[in-house]
């Protein structure tokens, strides 16, 4: 009872101190929103042309098939296509930063529909501005979407479909024994099934949320529209949590160096209660920050809606708990405020980047995606993404939320054990 009250009093004190520190409060509550806004604008495909990816396009194949595909690319709202005569001209445009990527339809590109039915991969060559990796990923997603769309349309046109089937039969009969021909129907119906699901399969599973970054495509099960902000608000949340955790760590270490921690540890309360007070204030501030962020995300300009608010609440609580653990660990890093701030910021920054708080994990190379597992940021984003736009069920939520709670527990206990209370009264 008395213990609980002491913890509450200490937490209340921290909240009060934060609110009095205008700059601190601004960074805590406004920065995550700014982050989400800024990156949302960058990824957004809904702005007037500004969100589209500018590409240079070279058609070296010059067949009817390739020309039809070029037309489709040019018609796409997600792409701003500039036709160029050869690769060098396109490369130059990319090098000068005028365009994000160069795309080459190589000789033998032909008709993507036929290519796919033959069981080969549709091959495109490209050059991407390395500073625009995110757009490159969007481009990749867009392209696979367009390829499927193209094939889908081709096969919906009876004449084209017949031609494709004929061609694939021909291809098969060349080398395959007649018995195999029986399998062709099955294969083709399989292809048709694939085409029906085209968008969902091609973009949802293979390329993760790339379709979402351009804010156009929705999967079959999704009930809420997905905008670029749906991606960037979870990232903003991750940065916000980092700021809250770091702020609380510094507040704890600052209390030690300014001497108030001595006064607290001389009161008839246990040390764990002092730390629990700090943990509680960190938790509450983080949760309020997330609530503000979700509230702002709901504004018409952002239009973010969550698939499940219940799961979003669960994800938020778990995320805050995880960062309480992070806070405690960071606070145990060093002796002085400057040491903890420098070291803590550096470590958290790396974890944030690795965990996809800037460039989403799906855009990373595979080894890095695996490495991201160590980052609490990755799990925060997965849990928030899951609740907001991935449409996670309870089952799928268990892993990220479980990991977050484990991070919170291990971090708090470990950090508390390592944290050194002041033993002399300054001088």
């Amino acid at each position: 009872m008395r213990a609980t009250r002491s913890i509450l009093l200490l937490a209340l004190k921290d909240v009060r101190l934060l609110l009095r520190d205008r700059l601190g409060a601004f960074f805590t509550f406004a920065f995550p929103v700014l982050y989400a806004l800024l990156f949302g604008l960058m990824f957004s495909g809904t702005g007037e042309g500004s969100g589209t990816v500018g590409i240079a396009l070279v058609d070296l194949d010059r067949t009817d098939g390739s020309r039809a595909f070029v037309e489709r690319l040019a018609d796409s709202e997600a792409l701003d296509v500039t036709l160029v005569a050869d690769s060098d001209a396109g490369r130059e445009l990319v090098r000068r930063g005028k365009l994000s990527a160069l795309l080459v339809l190589p000789e033998g590109f032909g008709d993507p529909a036929t290519t796919l039915v033959r069981g080969e991969r549709v091959r495109l060559e490209g050059v991407v501005d390395p500073s625009r990796k995110a757009e490159a990923a969007i481009l990749k997603g867009t392209l696979s979407g367009l390829v499927f769309e193209h094939i889908g349309d081709s096969l919906r046109d009876p004449d084209r479909a017949r031609a494709v089937i004929a061609e694939s039969r021909a291809a098969l009969s060349e080398g395959a024994p007649p018995a195999v021909a029986a399998a062709v129907d099955r294969m083709l119906s399989g292809v048709e099934g694939l085409l029906d699901e085209g968008e969902a399969v091609g973009l949802g599973a293979a390329d993760g949320p790339i379709d979402l970054a351009i804010g156009e495509l929705t999967s079959g099960e999704r009930t809420v529209p997905v905008t670029a902000y749906a991606l960037t608000f979870p990232q903003g949340a991750a940065w916000g949590l980092m700021a809250c955790a770091l702020g609380s760590s510094l507040s704890l270490v600052g209390e030690r160096s300014r001497g108030t921690l001595v006064r607290l540890s001389l009161a008839p309360i246990a040390r764990w209660q002092i730390l629990a007070g700090k943990a509680l204030s960190c938790f509450v501030i983080s949760l309020v920050m997330l609530a503000v962020l979700v509230g702002v995300a709901h504004l018409p300009v952002f239009g973010v809606r969550a698939e499940s608010y219940m799961l979003l609440a669960v994800a938020s609580v778990c995320a805050c708990a995880a960062f309480v653990g992070v806070m405690m660990l960071v606070a145990s890093f060093g002796k002085t405020v400057a040491a903890v701030e420098g070291f803590g910021r550096a470590v958290l920054l790396v974890l944030a980047l690795v965990g996809g708080a800037a460039v989403p994990v799906v855009f990373m190379p595979v080894w890095m995606r695996t490495a991201a597992g160590v980052s609490p940021f990755r799990w925060v984003i997965e849990a928030m993404d899951g609740a907001i736009w991935r449409g996670f069920g309870v089952q799928e939520m268990l892993l990220p939320c479980g990991v977050l709670l484990a991070i919170g527990l291990v971090g708090f206990v470990g950090g508390s054990l390592m944290f050194r209370f002041s033993r002399v009264m300054g001088d």
């Binding site: 004190k13 009060r16 001595v262 309360i269």
Partner: protein, 260 residues
Amino acid sequence: MLSFRGVTKTFGRVRALDRLSFRIEPGEVFGLLGPNGAGKTTSISLAVGLLRPDSGSIELEGIGEPHEQAAREALGVSPQSLAVYDDLTARENLELFSGLYGMTRRERRARARELLERVGLHDRANDRVAGFSGGMKRRLNLAAALVHRPRIVLLDEPTAGVDPQSRNALFDIVRGLRDDTTTVVYTTHYMEEAQRLCDRVAIIDHGRLLALDSVSELISRFGGEGERVAQDLEPAMTGSPGGGDLESVFLELTGRTLRD
């Protein structure tokens, strides 16, 4: 009330306290005097249980050892480094600290008002500490040590960096504590303060006890030698011209090598 028995404490290779022994009587104002680095703050830290002695023992009579929970209620500390929240008001500081001693909201209010009155900060009760002068912060730092009416109050250099008015107010507060039969441990390197306030004085240096007695006893015992020392100093520094005071005793015992 509080006894040190052969207490030794080292930090790495520094021997901060060296077999220090003394006993503080209930209700007295006990001065712990020594130059910088003598071991005053270390003694206080040991007395309140923040540190444990390497050898020897410390006992709070009728209470137990300093690190035990029971000692928390009995001890009040005003650390040398100010231990108050700059961005809280004076009242909020005191209400927070008294809350940690289990007082109800009403009790906390009343206690904060009473203490602010006592340290002369009642008219600044709702101002943030950040805007306070050094002397005001010191007075608040002292008030914070008193929220739970401790039986023993330890003041570590309570007058460091304050103006004469604040210093005078602090003296009055200490005298008030003595009138309430509170035991006070007062560390300082200002001899004049010890002379004015303390019933008994321990002079320590390099963690060792050099002398322990009432101020008048110390002066009569060591003062003769000290007169010669005092004559070399500015009269203003020794407090009273012509020697025969605690400053001379202090310099006599601790030598005249510069410390920091």
